[in-house]
Every structure is written in C-alpha cells, then in structure tokens.
C-alpha cells in the first residue's frame, strides 16, 4: 500500500476541532478567572492545539514546553526522560498541561509524577483526544476535547513516523 493510501476517513474536521477548542477555552476561562496560569505544552504533538487554544484564553498566562523521550538501554530496559525541560519554575503556580492525545495513560502518569515533584499549586490536564478504551491507569483529566475510538489517527499535531503532523484535520491511518 502506498503511504498516502493509508490515510482513511477524516475523523475530526478542521471546523469541528475549531468549535470544540472554543468551547474548551470558555470552560478554562471560567475556571481560571482572576488566576495566573502556566500552560505547558507536551511536545511535539500538542503544538497546534496549544497555539489554537491559548489564543482563545482570556487570562494572564505564560507558555512553556516539555518534551519526553523513550529509549532503550543496552540491557533492553526502557528509559523515559525529559529531554526538553520547562523554562519556568512551577512551584506554587497553577499549571495547565496541554496534551493532544491520552491513550494508555502510562506516559501521562510519569509526566504527572515529574511535575508534581516540583510542588505546583495545582495541575489540570487538557487533552484534545482521549481514548478511554485503551486506558490502563486512570488519571484525572479535567478538559477533554473528544473521546476517540481505537483507530490510529494522524494530523493536527499527531504523526506517524513524524509525518502528517501538519494536516489541519484528524484522519484515520492504517498502520497494518
């Protein structure tokens, strides 16, 4: 199968994403009235989501980024580590973590432990996509854009081998 033929039906159109982001922004604006936020984008997939969402937030906020990497040691044990750390101190601050997709919750669980160790005043999670079926660890997610099924999807920041991130919509991708 040619690579582009692997793209399937559009799951979330540009318009649908845009509208839902406006709704999420309204919720966040209401919840964080008169509060200062540090919005943390988990690179790279949440880049577009963060850009679109934060432009609709009517709050004093700072933007920061965090990137995790998975790798394998010689003895085939896995290691997860922060390869791009936050610029700002989050101690005593309200944090809104922006994810593009949460599937099993494993990486997310590591991320939360890492951030909580820095003693923020509060951490909220906002994810554009949430896959409840695949969840292995249940973590509190405060803002969910869409619940999605088990299809592999790309676009709007999500990739397959680093491709398709720049598609303006979210589309199924056949990895078989």
């Amino acid at each position: 199968m040619r690579e582009d033929e692997r793209l399937g039906k559009i799951v979330l159109s540009k318009e649908k994403i845009k509208n839902r982001i406006s709704e999420l922004a309204d919720e966040i604006n209401a919840d964080y009235q008169n509060k200062e936020l540090i919005v943390v984008s988990i690179l790279k997939s949440s880049l577009y989501f963060m850009a679109d969402l934060t432009r609709k937030l009517d709050l004093p906020l700072k933007l920061d980024f965090l990137e995790l990497s998975h790798s394998t040691n010689e003895d085939n044990t896995g290691v997860i580590r922060v390869i791009r750390d936050l610029e700002f101190s989050i101690t005593g601050r309200e944090i809104l973590v922006i994810e593009n997709i949460i599937k099993t919750g494993l990486t997310h669980s590591y991320l939360l432990k890492n951030l909580k160790a820095r003693s923020p005043a509060g951490i909220s999670i906002c994810t554009l996509l949430n896959n409840t079926d695949k969840k292995l660890v249940e973590l509190p997610i405060d803002y969910v854009g869409f619940e999605i099924s088990e299809h592999f999807v790309v676009g709007y920041g999500l990739d397959y081998k680093e491709k398709y991130r720049n598609l303006p919509y979210i589309v199924e991708y056949n990895i078989e």
């Binding site: 998975h70 790798s71 394998t72 085939n76 044990t77 896995g78 290691v79 997860i80 580590r81 922060v82 390869i83 791009r84 750390d85 936050l86 610029e87 700002f88 101190s89 989050i90 101690t91 099993t104 494993l106 990486t107 669980s109 590591y110 432990k113 160790a117 820095r118 003693s119 923020p120 695949k134 969840k135 292995l136 660890v137 249940e138």
Partner: protein, 321 residues
Amino acid sequence: MQIITISRQTASGGDEIAEELANRLGLKLINRDFILKNWLPQVADEHQLHMLQQSSKFYTKAIDNKSDNNQTFADYIEKKLIELAETQNLLIVGLGSHVIFRHHPGGIHIKIAASQEQRIKKLNKKYGLPREQAERSIELSDRKRRRYVWRVFNEDWSDLTLYHISLNSDGLSTEQALTILMSLIDCKKENPEPLADPEKKEKPEKEKTEYNFAHPSEKEFAKILDMHHIKWKYEPTEFPLEWDAEGNIRMGFRPDFYLTEYDTYIELTTMNRKYVTEKNKKVRLLQEIYPHINIKIVYKKDFNSLIDKFELNGNSEEENK
C-alpha cells in the same frame, strides 16, 4: 529523599545555577547564608556569629567550651542537614555537603567551575572590582572553601571523584547548564546509586526481585511499567470465580499485574484467539462477582503497539501463554 549538592568555585555562576535549579525542581535551597540566618543563631552568640561569618576555621571550634560536649559548629550543621534530609528533598550549596551526603542513595553531587579569566570578568561586571582586587577575592574565597572541606572532612575539595559531574561554565549559559543538570538528575532517578565508598567492603549486589514470569510478554510489560515508574506486583491475588456445592473453589482467576498506586489489575492476552475468548469470559465473570475491582485487559494488538512505541524488543510472538 533527593539530595542535590552543588560545590562551586567563587564567581563560577554556581550560585545562580543552584538557585534556578532549586526553583525548577521545587527543592529547599540551603546555603551558608541560610545557615547563618536560621540555624547558627540558635547555638552561637553575637561574637561567635561574627567569627563564623569571617573564618572557616571557627567552624571546627566547640560550640560550648565549658561543657564536656565537644560538638563543633560544623558537627551541628552536619547533624541538622542529615535530620532535614530525612524528611525533605534538598539542594545544598557548599558546606561540605557533597562529603556529608557522599554515600546517600539519593545524592547527586555537582561541581561548578570556570576559568580564572571568566571569574574575574564576572566579578568586575557584578561588583565593579578591578582585575587585581577580583583576583585576590577569588583566591581568598576559594581558599576558604578548600580549607573548610579539608579541616572538617579531611577531603580535597578539588578531587573530582567526589562529584557525579563537574561543569565548566565557560561558554555555557545558565539555561544550557540547567539542561545538562536536569538531564543528569532525570537519569539518576532511574538508577539512584551513591558514589563508590572505597572504605566500605563490597557488599554482594542486592538482587532485584526476580519474578518467574509465565510468558515473555509479561516480562516486557513489567519493563514498560518500570520505565514509567509505575509500581506493580506480579499475580498477587487469585479471585475465586466458581465454587462447588460444598463451597470449594472450582475456578479462580489470577490477573497478571496489580498496579498498587492505581488500584488496578492488568491482564495480558497476547495469545491465540481461542484462549482470548476463555480469558475474556473469566474477566467478565470477575467484574460481575467483584464489581469494585478495576481490571483492564491488554490485547495482543495493544501490547505490540506499546512495545513498538517504547522501542522494546518484545517477544509476544514467541509462544502462547
């Protein structure tokens, strides 16, 4: 507890790096100023405090000459640091803390240095010190630090084996130095080992609990959990599912993993469809009899995508469970 110590040459940028690192990690920062302001006034009078500010030698003097207790100011500081490290994560600047916590399992010891030229420039820029005065100030301050570590701990301050890492801040911005240090701290989370103690007899390496996994996929899954610092137990509980007329257990089910922090059981089904159906039935039954139990099933496809994602060499195809 996590204990990060930073030893630094005068005007090497070590204080700025320490402050920023403590901020980012949310650690309590302890340095000589903190000790002089908060701890030493409890045991030192005005004259003693003045001397402690001026002389490193004074730290080796007994706090109370009249009593039989020969505790020195340095002993007092060490005791307070050790006590605090039992309950709090700390970032300690100087004070010989890299020696005090040399064998602490959660200790990371950092040295920050810089070239003489850079340090002179820094003092000139920060305090307007002319070159000669800056040189003198660096010499005196470094000597004070070196002597303190030697007098109190009988260790050579410049011995690089006392540190996990030594950074030359020449040509490194604070941000770059922080990136390197955060990466080290993150790595050490995976493998928190203290620096070697040459005087200590080699203990036989503590063996990691070896589980007798029934299937290679379980071993791989355990690695994925370890990778994410998720605490687990292997097959800790068997749930009775069917009983005979006399109340004897006829069928039970033992899920593969229990995630203790999430109160969740995980069952892997990386085998043939025939067995999957049987296992699904057991899981359904378990959920009916024990509705309060959280159980998740990881199917073969999901397991394989986890293995792919985390770049582990899974063995899911090897054999049926």
